[in-house]
Every structure is written in C-alpha cells, then in structure tokens.
Symmetry: C2
Subunit: 412 residues, 2 copies
C-alpha cells in the first residue's frame, strides 16, 4: 500500500490529474502539485477547491520545483512523504524525476516518453534510448515505474493486451486510431504543448510492419475509417510512443498508429514546416537575436488550456485488432469515446487532456491498493489490463468493444 | 549640374543602382555606397568591378553608416562631396537621410515611402504623415527631393502623367497592375525584404475611388487581366505608395493598385498572418525571451538577393487608364515587361530589384543634367515624364503602349 501523491506539472493534463486525485483522495492521501511556476500550481489547487473535488478532507498544496533538479525533487518527495509521483510535466524532465523516485523509493508514473530538447525522433525503440536503461536499477530498488500511462500511450496498450489475451489465438495487426472530432473554434491550435505536439510530426514516422521498423514521412500514408459515434474520418500514419514498447512486448508483426487530421490542420502544419518555423534549431534575426522558431510559433498559438471552455464534440480512440480465432479471421475494435464539454464541466479541461489525465490516476490507485505495485519498471501492456479497464469504467472513461457480435460496453 | 552619388543601402535594389550608376559615371561622377554593414557594400563594389560596369575610371568606395544618424550621414555626404543621394536603404531611414540632404544641400531620391517600425498602414495620404511635412523646408533650401522614383511608385506615376497629358481629355480610372510572372523555384520567398513586403498586406488596403479614400482588407477585391507577354493573371487590390500622391496631384476620381499573387502565395501569407507570425508587436516565449514574430519569419525565409541566380520569367507592370478623348471612351495600357534572367545577367539582381533600381538612377542622371533639378520636393507625376521615359528606353526598361491602335513601343 502506497499513499500521498506528488503531481509534477501544471498544464491541462495536470489539471485533470489534480481533480481526479482529489476525487479519490480517500485512497490516494495527500496531494501536492509542483512545477516551475508555483502560481500555475496554485490555480489548480484553487480549481479543485472551487469545484469541491476533494472526496474527504486532506492536504492539497502547491510548490515551486525545477524538476530537472534531482536533489530538489527528492527533497520535495521526502518533505511531502509522497509515495506516488505522477509526472505530467514537460517530456524533458522524465529522467530526472525518475531518478529522484529511484533514490526516494517512490513509485513513478508518466504519460509520455522522455525527450531531449535538441533531439527529434531518435532510433527505435525509443524507450531503449532512455527509460529502459533504468530497468535494472528500478528492479534492484523495488521501484514501481509505469511508463506511458495516459490514453495513447496507456489505455491503448491495455486494449492491445486484452485483445491478445482474450479475443484471439494469434494477432496479425494492431492499428491504434486516434480521432479528435471536436472543435475549439480557433483558427488553429494544438491540443497539447505545441513544442511537443509538432515534434511528433516533424521527424521520421516509425511503424512496426512485418516485425521490423519501417520509416515514412508524415502525411505520406493515410486511411479512412467509419468509427463509432464520430463517423467517417481520415487518419495519417504517425510515429507514437506505444509502438516502441508494444513491438517489443507483444508477438504481433504489424503495429501502427494513426492520427486524425483535417485538411486545414495539414495545410497550416505544412506551411510552417516547409518554411522552417517548426525547427528546434536556432536562427539569427537581422538584428542578431538568436531565436528558436518553434518557440515563437508556440508563443503565438493559443495556450492549449485556453481551448477548454469552448471545446465541443467528441474524441474516439481505440485499437483495431485483426487476427485468427478458432481458425477464422477476426476483427475487433476496442475503444473509448470522450466528450470535450463533459470533461470541461467535470474538471475544467478539454477532452484530450481528460483522456490523458484520468488513466494515470487510475494507475496510481491500482498501485496504492497493491494490484499494480509491481516494484519494477513496466510498460502498460505488461500489467493485468482487466482491473484497469474496470476502474476506468467508473472514472469517466468507459471502454467499449465492436466486433461481429455488435457494439457493447467492455468490462470484466 | 550636380555630380557624385552616395548610395545608401546594400540590398538587391542597391546592387542594381550601383551597377547602373557605374554604367553612367561619366555623368554621375564618383560613386560611394554606405550601409550599416560595410562588407555588404564592399560586395557591391566588388560586383561592379568584376562585371566591369564602370564606364570611365572613377572613385567607387564602400562605407559603414548608420543612416538613422543624421550627423554621420551629413559627414559622409560632405566627405564624399556627393551632390546626389540615392536612398535605397530600409524604409525606416527616409526621414533621417532627407534631413541630412537638406542640411548638406544634396539632392535626395528614394524608391519607397517612409515607415516607422512600430506603425503599419497609417492615415492616407501617407506622404502627408512624413515626407510632405518637409516640402517648405526643401523649397526654402533649394533642395531637389524626388520621392518614390522606383518602378511602382515611380515609373507608373510618370505613365499616369503621360496618359493624362497626352492621350485623354479626361481620365476616370487609373489601375496600376503589377504582375510578377517569374518563378524563383523556392517553396516560398518574398522579392523584397520580407519585413517591408508583408507590411504592405497586413494593414488596411486604401484605394482612391469616387475621389475619396476607400478601405478594404487584403485579398478582398481581385481582377483578372489578359496582359501583354505574361498572359492572363489575377491580381488583388493592394495598398501602395503611389495612390497617396497621384490622388492628390491628378484630377482622377478612381486610382487603384493591383498586385498579382498566386494561390500558393496567398495560402502561405494567410496562414502566417492568421497565426500572428507577421506581427511587428513582440511576443514572449515560454522561456521569457521577447521576440518580434515578423523578424523570425524574415530570418527563416530565403534572402531576396539569393533568388536572383535561378529566377526565370518576366514581370509586367503598367497603368491601365480609362477616360474620354474627343467625346469617346478610350482605354490605354502603358507598361514595361522585364526579364529576370536578363537582369541577373546584366547586374546580378532579379527583375523586381532591376525595375526598382534602374528608374532612380535615370532620375539621378536627369537631376545631374539639370532637366529634373527642380530644387523642391516632388512626386514623380509632377515632373516632365517624356525625358524620363525616353531615358529609360535606353537603360534597359523600355516602355510600351497598347490601345485601339495596337501594341507598340512608347517614346517621345
């Protein structure tokens, strides 16, 4: 049994995490929120208090922290007696926060893979470049570290495990499809930090095909699906974290990730990318100022958290799985549909942040109650998926399955 | 008789001016080139020497100068004994260079209207905001100052004067049409300094209609014309300097400016503009760096002077004039067609720089030989147009006229 949560980060996902932890603070204990800017953490504290999200009386405090500083992070973990650290800060701080957890004995959870600021799209499998180098250290120190436990990566990894374990004798294809059919009403905006969001699309697109890595360019390969609730949508093969663990942990020859984009998004992205404005390499202005173009694009785009109040429509994210069962071809689609306005009403965030933030809190609960306290480093498909899917059903992210028997709720 | 030329600026237009002055240094005398970066001036000097452009032996020197510094500019005018100052530097330095000329007694010529860095698209007529405030001072000091003597503004003002004087009893409409049918082979580039280029399109589009100012948005109003040599092109109503003098100096109720754009240009412009990346107002990055987005866009775009070697195709710029002659409706199109590759071959610049740079040198010659040494501040339509058009015919910018009698060379 572990308790007391330290949330690192104060963006849109942290907002969801703070509210969801508060709703379950009878299990999770005290809640502390830390980021570089303490005012942003305090806004989350205030939001939780305003909505009355705390289930029982308990500590809820904001802290200033540079999460790249391992000693400072350790000190805060110790001071707050946090046994659960939920890292939803920048992707650049994963390794330093993980190190602080290893040295403090706290469990570690994150929702996205580690990145180094100056590198884009490294050699696959990506987890082997940073996180997996600490596997032995975690096991030696009995550290529970769950990597990539948002929705995608995260829930979609659990869906893949369920499909492989429950519905097939052998699986040939897992296509993870992520459609945001919502509308924020702005000319253009990204749903996450633009710096991280665009980095997904500017490098090589790695996919796992015929049991080896294949490289494409962004927007080179597309598909169109008729999906539950949101209807027909076109999505594009995209590099994504979960391919880099699923390919290593499941015996499935084809695993691809597809993200939905409208033509307008692609046009804006293409213009910015072709002009060099999405580059993380500095340029020098005529006045001699050195500037990273991507950081300027980020500065002019709407803050993703500002989109929430007017976001309308739904997301549909799921795993389309193909294989054999009892000698016959079989196909299932395991998925969730989330609603932007409902998410905003409950926790003050839009649906994209909601689908990323709820699963990591569910995982923290499963560590707290011992079911997932595995005392080693794991990706989500290595954990028993059923308690996780069942818990999400009660926390606002219900799972469904569509196959030859129809479309129905998924629970175990 | 005036002689010795000081060229201020070292960009693509300055390159043309340097070569053309050199080709006429028997009339113009010594040539000095000054800008903030002396190395860029030296490159122009080297280019003139390499091409052997100097007609007769004479001085040709590079100088470092901050043209916003009136005293330094005066000192350089005095030191070089320049009686002719050709300002083809940034549009931000017009007023300081003009002041230096007034105090030194030198003639002043420029090719574009003065701008203040933080202001976009001021109240019409634009010349009244800055230049015309010095009219009395110029007259009192016998200073010849010719404003806007590039192609447009410049030659198109002379075409308007010729039309009004020679071909009509009354003119109802002057539509100045500027088509660049050339191709630079880059994904996207501007033909002039992007900072100045985009500023033309981000503010209100002022036009002179029914003898009053009308405001539109960029790309709101368009027309399609079948033009000599370049064929059918779509152009968009655009705010432009010459409307702000022609409207005041000619008794013509409708004067509009139209610039040709392809769909790709409009798309890129629209994306950048809608995102706020063409703004001259600073934004602050997440890291706290204050940056002017337009300066970063400028830094990532190709240097306009780098386009010249591969620029192919032609420009067509002219005045479509409508009115009455002998009681009958009449229409004439007075125009020039220039070739990018020919311009590069002659002076190392593309056609857009060539059409802007040749006229100001022709004007300097007309001041030097006394024909245009009017000892006051004027816009081009106030000067006798015939010697100017005749001189341009011999300097690489031949004029033509198309009317009910056909299409033929224009000379007097």
């Amino acid at each position: 049994m572990k308790k007391n949560v330290l949330i690192i980060g104060a963006g849109g996902v942290a907002q969801v995490v703070a509210h969801k932890c508060a709703q379950h603070n009878d299990v999770l204990g005290n809640i502390h929120i830390a980021s570089r800017t303490v005012e942003k953490c305090q806004q989350l504290v205030d939001s939780v208090r305003e909505k009355g999200s705390l289930k029982v009386a308990g500590e809820l405090q904001a802290h200033a922290l540079d999460a790249l500083d391992v000693e400072a992070t350790k000190a805060l973990i110790d001071k707050t007696q946090s046994q659960l650290v939920i890292n939803v800060g920048s992707s650049f701080v994963n390794m330093s926060v993980l190190q602080a957890c290893i040295e403090s004995g706290a469990a570690y959870l994150d929702t996205a893979i580690h990145e180094e600021p100056e590198k884009i799209c490294e050699t696959p499998p990506w987890y082997a470049n940073y996180e997996w180098k600490r596997r032995e250290l975690c096991e030696a120190n009995n550290i529970t570290a769950i990597l990539g436990i948002g929705f995608d990566p995260g829930v979609v990894n659990a869906y893949a495990a369920v499909a492989v374990n429950e519905y097939f004798d052998s699986v040939s294809d897992i296509d993870i499809i992520d459609i945001n059919a919502g509308s924020h009403g702005k000319y253009f905006a990204t749903n996450f930090d633009p710096e991280i969001n665009f980095r997904e699309f500017t490098g090589e697109v790695w996919s796992w095909q015929s049991s080896s890595w294949v490289s494409n360019r962004m927007f080179e390969v597309k598909r169109t699906d008729d999906l539950p609730v949101v209807g027909e949508h076109t999505s594009y093969m995209t590099g994504h974290d979960e391919l880099h663990s699923l390919s290593q942990n499941l015996n499935v020859p084809n695993i691809r990730f597809w993200m939905g984009f409208g033509e307008h998004y692609i046009n804006v992205f293409t213009v910015l990318n072709n002009l060099g404005l999405l580059s993380e390499q500095p340029v020098t202005t005529a006045e001699g100022q050195e500037v990273i173009p991507l950081k300027v694009v980020k500065a002019v785009l709407p803050d993703p958290s500002s989109l929430a109040p007017n976001y309308q429509g739904k997301t549909c994210i799921g795993d389309l799985v193909k294989g054999k069962k009892d000698g016959k071809d079989k196909e299932v689609f395991i998925y969730n549909v989330a609603d932007h306005a409902e998410a905003y009403s409950e926790v003050g965030s839009q649906g994209i942040s909601y689908t990323a933030g709820v699963p990591v809190v569910a995982a923290a609960i499963l560590i707290a109650n011992g079911e997932w306290d595995v005392q080693k480093m794991v990706n989500v498909e290595e954990l028993p998926p059923k308690p996780f899917i069942n818990l999400l059903n009660t926390m606002g992210l219900p799972s469904r399955i569509r196959d030859e028997e129809g479309d129905r709720a998924l629970s175990f």
